[in-house]
Symmetry: C2
Subunit: 208 residues, 2 copies
């Protein structure tokens, strides 16, 4: 593109452009920022990236990111072991944990069903979820005491995955719920789309 | 924030959040992307960052980024040595070079006059520009043959810097021009602000 740019700068621009959410212009700006940054900051950034995955793996229970065999959330004995929140990605766990409102355990699917992209149930951690719940029941936990909240995104793929999960989990006799859908906080009713409004009406709650 | 996150992940999120244009959410998304990336890609990114500044310096003439004492543009003998384009940042050189329309030389100020931020003429490469032109004149180039295009941004600071530059350069008897201002390509006249419209009227060109 800009043939006058030194190779090292062009390389760092190319590398940053490959990251999600960073376009070529942002990558250029970041490269110029690095050029004006002290060496210490550059080496810290470089080092932190190199060490991203060091000593990390996915939790054997919930497939969240973890430094040990099981993640901190699964190891936390104060959390409700019979309550599961099923999410698509680790980012969703971060978002839910930030609310501080959920005191159960998670299960990260690592994706959604998407036939177009060739992603079927076997590419996701769906069977692992079923096994997890079966193990609980085998440990003589009553299936009525187990709840699975399906918190996949309210997208086409997310809803399809949610439907598929209910089909798989229903025979276990457990309680299955879908995370509430409706107007987002700060949203404007007259700007909301039809699907959102329909879901908001269906998901209405009585004042107690 | 998310105390369950492994330290290495939190660190890489923090480091990315410090870069321009990357918020905490984007940094999280990038960290998760790295987590799912092959080791080779991670080490390439890390390495390219570490080597950003390696062997680089600013061109002694125009203060563009360079691998040698003088940058590729200044060394290019096919370019007009009596035509200068004065810009704020190296990014501006990249943008202008992409058009392929400018065949002169650049001069990078590395900022704009901004009394609020304590940036005066001595913090910028303004005197270096004056010396550059004086040297040309001393080499018996007629001052009438020298043109300086001031291409600082059409912002308050950019305009102030442009005015200051004209004051400094006027006594040299050279031609000083300001980069054209007006409606941007694809812009909508009825959405343009008053200043842009005024500049567009002032900057009108006759059909030839």
């Amino acid at each position: 593109m800009s043939s006058f740019l030194p190779e090292s700068i062009q390389k760092v621009i190319d590398e940053f452009s490959r990251l999600p959410g960073i376009g070529p212009k942002s990558a250029q700006r970041i490269a110029m920022h690095l050029l004006h940054s002290p060496d210490m900051r550059i080496s810290q950034l470089s080092k932190s990236i190199a060490e991203t995955k060091e000593g990390l793996n996915f939790c054997v229970d919930c497939f969240n990111i973890s430094e040990s065999e099981k993640c901190k959330i699964c190891l936390d004995q104060s959390r409700n072991k019979n309550l599961f929140c099923v999410v698509e990605e680790i980012l969703d766990v971060i978002a839910l944990e930030k609310t501080g409102q959920f005191k159960g355990n998670y299960h990260v699917l690592h994706g959604v069903l998407s036939p177009v992209d060739g992603i079927g149930p076997n590419q996701l951690k769906i069977n692992e979820l079923k096994v997890r719940i079966e193990n609980l029941i085998n440990q003589s936990v009553s299936s009525e005491d187990i709840e699975v909240i399906i918190a996949t995104n309210p997208s086409l793929e997310g809803e399809t995955t949610a439907l598929y999960l209910t089909k798989i989990l229903k025979p276990l006799g457990i309680k299955i719920t879908r995370i509430g859908r409706g107007l987002p906080a700060g949203g404007d009713l007259d700007y909301a789309d039809d699907v959102t409004l329909t879901r908001a009406l269906q998901g209405r709650l009585e004042y107690s």
